[in-house]
Symmetry: C3
Subunit: 360 residues, 3 copies
């Protein structure tokens, strides 16, 4: 059973990956070919010629069109077939599905569901993006060998940082601090403050706190799988106003999860910080330390995925910290149920099966 | 569902591969062990001891017999068990299936179906084989990761050469030239002439045409999967008589497809040419360029196979150039239906299942 | 269908492998984590946190407890949860299964079935273990890619040594010598004498027989999968009393098979000999030659396993030498039937499925 939500914007690629060449990437189980038209507009088609299923990405980009490398069938950026070599008429079945795209925050976002519902205003807002005084690390990517919901579990679970990430963003001070949860129409927030504690290793490296700190972790998850974490530390005892927080050590970590298959996930991420915003060496350190952190998740969740597949089970016991993850999974289930009753996407009917001689 | 036709001759190996050792090869999904008797006659048995399924090819060739490496059961070239160490009686179930073979054109041909139907006169005729004035390249082999019918599709499809093989045997001049089809009882021919056009790269390399040429492509496919292509060029405007064609640039490319499994195929090929027939360097060039050409098919059809398996679909739209491939697939389907009503091959009944404790 | 017998002692690891760290090993299809408590007692838990299925072996050993590396849930050596960070109450589902262990013969034995049936007196007796005058090679291990019953087949089959092991423990003299079989309540013995024959290669290397020898092979298999082989040679014609056998060349080869999965097996072995008992170089030679011998089985049985899986068949014909293997498989079948009617092991019920959004 699929866990995918189709009617949503997903990062398909960083802008720098999409150019005057054919890029193939699997998204929500579908192979997609991405390229940029001569005027710079990105385009995305299903990466499969409707004739004999050759990947279009093995063909050639001719102007704004894609020419299949097998028999030269040619499609425009909307998937309309504009040429079939050797014949005049173009049958209605000779078309490739195209996908709505929008380019924002240096990324190309794709809509895999019903194109009529693709509202570009619903791409998540990234605060401070491009602002002076805020250092940016973007263009970052990891490949996770796990279902995306195992990752969203972690992204509304501040508690796991005390164990999984004690080399960077967690430490023992948080072990017994409970988590609070708030739910909106399309998001869940899990948060806690860990007060009067030593700074975590990443903060100790980057900042010069004289003594103990109050540390906050606000984990937001916007459905289906866009995460951002408001994370920071101030001197212990200081009043936690927004101004004080902006004056302390603060970062926003954005994680854009794009399901690749049911058991693998593209993990695009960017990171905004208020410390040493223009220092390229600090940017390098942030990239390195956050990559280390996310790889700790990746290793663990690879094992978890394999054990889920082997046993057919996801959990034998539920804890208090599972409140937010459980909400997310229930909200995803509702979105899927809604999509199931109004199937959005037109499907081409095949002429013939794959493994049988043709009957036509 | 199987796509195999069993009652047919397939190349099992080049003659040079079969000698005084045990060669294991999978053919039509069956593991076969090939060897040569002391008098030079080739023999083929199922590569599986009927006792405990050890591969006979792990055993020893003793004179004209194969001795299993597990318990020493010994079989002659017809599969009759001639010895069971430690016991006198040889039960009727102690035999290995053997397969009819014929050696011709430097290849060992095998018959995987009903031995009584194995008529050696039905091996395809290779014209000019061994003739003076015709250069020969043989002993060639490629392994394709695709069902053999995806390859036969290409071998009655001159149109794909304009796109897939434009480095060697195709060029843009052929893009919009239609294909004609003729059908016989057991073959299909797809052909076209591309007139008044520049020679294709391979011809430009090998021949010295002063100007444009008329080029022919005749793709014959004999059921189930023996192909030959009559391919050549003459000066543009010259009358296309057989004499003029033999006086121009002409080659016969023979492709012998032997299904290995439903998703992989042995591709044996040989090539005859009327140009520089005795020049070994030209032979090397032909081997290299045709290997390059067939590898272009192999790469593409590997992708096509994987997408067919993933989607369960073979095509979403059908074009005019699919006429010949569709005929082949329908003819194969009829051959299979015919084989299904008269099951040819004796099957041994197992004594016990694989994964259960024995019940005997 | 499973071929495992659960109510039995299996070697989980050599004693030297189990220490103050977390060792993960799959046994009878279950992942187990092994470690040693501070007082030296070994402990074994299912290697899977009941919360989100993270492998406990990725966590930390804290005193006698295992702390999960995901959220810090902590279990004692009996599987009782002693801590859940961030919450006070410990739900009854928060426990990990533990397994009875016993340490004997330098090995840690595990009981995967009903703990109430785990009678430590039923571990097999190893005669001469630790006795002066008997050389010991232990701590040996091979990994077989085959179902354990394919190995037990060989371990009550002296006949295969004439073919598979003619480099070490077999030779042509045994080819036509029949095998006798005796059956007890929980064991089968297959045996033969090969008289007035040249010594086998291993014996020729290790001993100084002047001429021909009488050789015995006694293959004992104790259910489900503990084997020992009494193997030796005396001067041809000498009366085969126990005293004469102990005065000749004699060894006991113990093989402890622990099923890993249905298609792979842990092969632990030790070897006792009455020749050069204190010579470390001879011990090295024995280790090398027996490893060579067992690897010959491993290669063959890997092929056999794959062909069994491919065909769904185990044998097409049965020979006289299959008497003992067939008895073992029938006895195993009876043990399994007995276990099936009295299901021994308590199973935790999952809170939610693996691939669906949570419904809680």
């Amino acid at each position: 059973m699929s866990t995918f939500v189709k009617n949503a914007w997903y990062v398909a690629a960083w802008s720098s990956e999409v150019g005057r060449h054919l890029l193939s990437r699997t998204i929500l189980g579908e192979q997609v070919v991405l390229y940029r038209c001569e005027d710079g507009t990105p385009a995305a088609l299903v990466d499969r010629c409707p004739h004999k299923l050759a990947p279009l990405s093995l063909g050639e980009l001719k102007g704004d069109h894609v020419q299949c490398g097998y028999h030269g069938m040619t499609f425009d950026g909307s998937g309309v077939c504009v040429r079939i070599p050797g014949q005049q008429n173009i049958p209605p079945t000779a078309r490739a599905r195209s996908f709505p795209l929008i380019e924002k925050y240096n990324a190309v976002w794709i809509w895999m569901g019903d194109p009529e519902l693709a509202d570009t205003t619903t791409v998540i807002d990234v605060p401070h993006y491009g602002d002076a005084g805020w250092g940016l690390v973007d263009g970052q990517y990891l490949h996770f060998k796990t279902n995306y919901l195992n990752i969203t579990d972690n992204l509304v679970d501040p508690a796991h940082t005390s164990y999984v990430h004690k080399k960077t963003i967690g430490n023992a001070a948080g072990e017994d601090v409970g988590v609070k949860v708030e739910q909106g129409d399309s998001h869940v927030l899990a948060w806690r403050w860990i007060n009067d504690a030593p700074p975590v290793p990443l903060v100790a490296t980057m900042a010069n706190f004289a003594g103990k700190v109050d540390r906050w972790q606000y984990y937001y998850l916007h459905l289906p799988s866009t995460s951002y974490v408001d994370f920071g530390s101030i001197d212990a005892g200081l009043e936690p106003t927004e101004a004080n927080k902006d004056g302390g050590f603060r970062s926003y970590s954005f994680n854009f999860l794009t399901p690749e298959t049911e058991s693998t996930t593209h993990y695009f991420w960017l990171h905004l910080r208020n410390y040493h915003p223009d220092d390229a060496l600090v940017s390098d350190d942030v990239a390195r330390l956050m990559t280390l952190t996310f790889e700790e998740d990746a290793v663990l969740l690879d094992y978890v995925q394999r054990e889920q597949e082997r046993t057919g089970v996801r959990e034998y016991t539920r804890l208090g910290i599972d409140n937010a993850p459980a909400r997310i999974r229930k909200m995803i289930e509702r979105l899927q149920a809604k999509e199931a009753v109004s199937p959005a996407v037109h499907v081409l009917h095949p002429v013939s099966g794959a493994t049988q001689p043709s009957t036509v």
